[in-house]
Symmetry: C2
Subunit: 578 residues, 2 copies
């Protein structure tokens, strides 16, 4: 990872590429890389779909190495959904391939004139950029089948579906998994629309003969990796809950905690939760011949993914994630696990963020477009998005636009991005993260569910404001750092509870790069990233007034606890006092 | 005008009204009244369609008196379109009636539960608030016919059409004119959606036996009014251009100046301009038996309005205003005066801001939804808005939502509100006003066309940045003050050029209220209003970064002058240095 590939899609005469050494970006990976490039090179007031925005794809510092859990890649840009800086990250195989080709970042710049659609192919002969208008409006699954036909099975792809081509605010970027399914997504913030504006449909990496990246101190690295793996396997969340039930293990937990936003955030408990719980999904997968325990990329030892099939054993989708099941399930009053999985597949193949889509449909249900609980109606709506009908254009633009179009007051967004599957009134630490994150409402930015609900890394009463600021602050700092390593965020459960696992993570970085980082250095990195991102957002016009939840969360109590969001504005303004 | 009528539409058991003396709002009228109440009483971060927003209707200080040109009323709220404070004002007869009933303001507060629709009737017996669900989704013209049937011809109405009921961002509030046509509109910023959220369809004033408001010093007042009238009649714009051709007198002027935004702001000159000029409209009106010179309210001596009929002499619409003709004409590549007038009627009867609608359709044309120049297509689109189809919901939410839904980069808005009919690159003073106005892009906030194009109040080269800050600043201050008097803004042409006409305006105020204001006091009032509004906006999260035009105006040159917007950001930040 010693070079940056820049492709100017707007160059006169067609796309032009340049490779350069890392220069000022040396030593950065993942989110640190994407946010640094965006903050330095993108004018904060540019139009996110315009030629001045850039799409930066960056594997983490350890991606492509033998370090377990290190397969993630970050995708950064100015977000067309939020208007903020954006880092959206994904599992799958492409980050590993990219890192092994030596690319610390691929930067798509400029916008092509005209409407040609491009594919970028990277193999051992180099990089080629080809017009391929036969790919227009292909779904992700159809696209990948076509790429397999063209390039064989030894590939990894980064692609957009029709939603990205239509430049929708909910458009994701798909990354293929180990089975070459475009099922892992950089979902949030409309990153797919930016890729669409650059005219790039797919980046194909030929993985033939790619070599593992090698550490500077192999013995120490091997030892650290072993300890790290042991730590993950010994923690109840990463060693048991996630492998057995996937992320949907949270459904029953959040529902019992009264923090499961139901029917567009009206209540915190859903009567149909058990029908769509992780336990139910795992059970169905086992009975029907799917797969309940599965990894989304090489080197995963948590295996929280899965494969979901119908009654006849036919593939429906990858096992839908907790937030997806919530967004299209409880949030829409839907308790049919098959219907939810079918919607998950549609989101994946059209290239849509499942959270943004589920919340948009919930808002549309609140407006009476269809009724809460109407699973067939929800499937129809997602198909409208994929086809780009006017109603689909509304929904595909996200929950806020949907609320505006239908005159709805209850729109659960922060900085124009939909809140995920944790009601901020019953999980107040998440409320702090939603309000203050540099990314808009985003659970992964500072996952306070840990101490609020799971009692991981201590316990902070989820219904009270006390201690939430510090909790969210520390998590946001840690997350920014983890997002730069290429590690899956789920390592945090073990890292928070087990000092020796945290040390093993640091040892992995040190032995790989021949460094001597301490915990303080990791924390400093997280703070630096957040500061860079906050600075971009400030220059883009974001103020303390944007670090707020919609007013109704402070006014309308959430059953069953009948609690409102209690954290004070002046305390929210202290999150970044570091 | 010694009392405020407050109606709490959200009160338990149904709407509750209270009348109170002016208290802290004594001495205020029009925009000074609406902005003061909104700034003091509405939480800046509330949802504009939620119960905490208020809709304030306030006649100007001289409205209802014998002062010529004083019939305007201001409507204020937090805008659902811009998120800023909003004052949108209108001619017509209702302001006069309201002032003569003694109401300095009517404040609609709270939101009703349920979906009942209300009418408010004010007559010599008092105020009554009645559920009337038979009014649901009536167009403005149909509604007023119904009100005439119910209450006779001696009424004045303030109402919303279906767009307001659907809470669209482009929804206006209609005010009836002297012929009881709902043809005058508080158009901008979605004020109609706020009235819709309050569940109020119409406010009917019985005008039977209403008495002229009397000045404290009748003789001085009469004298000032006479001088003021003479001043208006002697100025070429208010005495000749506007009466003869209406506001569309500007079409040829702006087109020749290269500042007529054409086909979604791509060029500054429209080859079809002469076919839709004020001269053409006046000619058609005269030939067909319409009316080219007409006032929108009692006491108007400029008479810039008109009545437009078809070939058979049948009413199509009131004479469409310049900005309307531009929005649906040149901005959409349409040069059919009848089609534009038909769209004007549809906007009026559905209750839509003609500027926002025309710009939204222009953006949709840029996205390929229909072709530029397709007049029948444009009529069809406006009908979709009136019916609330999904495509109509997109367009009715305004140009920015339309641009988001269709992934368009070129969206000519500031603070989420569409730019009117003057390209900021070729009329750079207007660019300063668009960028910095407390209202979002709004030509009436500081009409720099005066000195930039018309050579009224001096001359400032429209293609250069020099002098534009000072020009816009002074106009914004003066406008805020004029908007508080109840005077039609068009008096500004004479007031700017003729010191004695300005003095006559001050004498009108002084003799009416027994005051001794000077020009400095008027200026101080304007500054105070702007400061109040800026303060609200700051608390709502608006910063210097929002006082900017979309980036493309500084990058893409506008033919025929091939000029970009040249005013520097740091200079824009000086507009409110007073």
């Amino acid at each position: 990872m010693d070079k940056i590939l820049r492709i100017d899609m707007g160059a006169k005469g067609g796309p032009k590429m340049t490779e350069s050494p890392l220069g000022e970006y040396a030593g950065l990976g993942g989110r640190a890389m994407t946010s640094s490039i965006i903050s330095s090179e993108v004018p904060p007031l540019c139009h996110a779909l315009g030629q001045d925005n850039k799409l930066v794809i960056a594997p983490g510092l350890l991606t492509g190495s033998a370090a377990v859990m290190s397969g993630r890649l970050s995708i950064g840009c100015k977000s067309p959904l939020t208007g903020t800086i954006k880092e959206s990250n994904s599992g799958g195989q492409a980050g590993i391939a990219m890192a092994r080709y030596g690319y610390a970042a691929i930067v798509l710049e400029g916008n092509p004139e005209g409407s040609d659609l491009y594919k970028i192919v990277i193999n051992n002969k180099g990089v080629s950029i080809q017009v391929d208008n036969s790919l227009k409006m292909l779904t992700n699954y159809d696209l990948i089948e076509k790429m397999k036909g063209e390039f064989g099975e030894k590939i990894a792809c980064i692609s957009i579906g029709p939603a990205g081509e239509m430049k929708m605010g909910a458009a994701s970027i798909a990354v293929t998994d180990m089975e070459l399914r475009p099922s892992r997504h950089a979902g949030r913030g409309g990153v797919g629309a930016v890729m669409g504006s650059k005219g790039v449909k797919v980046i194909v990496f030929d993985t033939t003969g790619l070599k593992m990246r090698q550490p500077k101190e192999p013995e120490k690295f091997r030892e650290a990796n072993k300890k790290f793996t042991e730590g993950l396997k010994s923690h109840p969340v990463t060693g048991k809950g996630l492998p057995a039930y996937g992320t949907s293990v949270l459904t029953n937990i959040l529902n019992e905690a009264g923090g499961y936003p139901t029917r567009n955030f009206k209540t915190g408990a859903f009567e149909g939760a058990s029908a769509i719980s992780g336990e139910t999904y795992a059970d169905l997968e086992t009975k029907r011949g799917g797969l309940a325990t599965h990894g989304c990329h090489t080197g995963c030892v948590i295996q929280c993914s899965g494969t979901y099939v119908d009654k006849n054993g036919k593939f429906i989708s990858k096992q839908p994630e907790y937030e997806t099941v919530w967004a299209h399930g409880g949030n829409c009053g839907i308790s049919d696990p098959d219907a939810i999985a079918r919607i998950d597949f549609l989101d994946d193949t059209y290239g849509l963020d499942t959270i943004e889509m589920g919340v948009a449909i919930g808002v549309a249900m609140d407006a009476g477009v269809i009724q809460f609980g109407d699973a067939e109606g929800a499937i129809r709506l997602v198909n409208e998005v994929g086809k780009g009908t006017p109603l689909g254009r509304i929904l595909g633009s996200g929950a806020e636009v949907t609320g505006k179009a239908f005159g709805v007051e209850r729109i659960p967004v922060v900085k124009h991005q939909s809140m995920p599957a944790y009601d901020p009134r019953a999980v107040q630490g998440m409320g702090v993260t939603y309000a203050t994150s540099t990314m808009g409402a985003d659970h992964t930015a500072g996952y306070a569910v840990t101490a609020n609900i799971l009692k991981v890394g201590g316990f902070v009463d989820p219904l009270k404001p006390d201690g939430q600021i510090e909790l969210s602050r520390n998590l946001q700092i840690a997350t920014a750092a983890i997002d730069s390593t290429g590690m899956c965020l789920f390592i945090a459960f073990a890292v928070l509870d087990q000092p020796e696992t945290f040390q093993a993570l640091i040892d992995l970085l040190n032995s790989y790069y021949g460094l001597s980082l301490t915990a303080d250095d990791v924390s400093a990195l997280g703070k630096k990233i957040l500061t860079i991102e906050r600075n971009f957002n400030m220059r883009a016009g974001f103020t303390a007034q944007h670090d707020r939840l919609p007013a109704y969360f402070s006014k309308m109590p959430l059953p069953p606890h009948n609690v409102t969001f209690q954290v004070k504005d002046e305390d929210l303004d202290k999150v970044f006092n570091f």
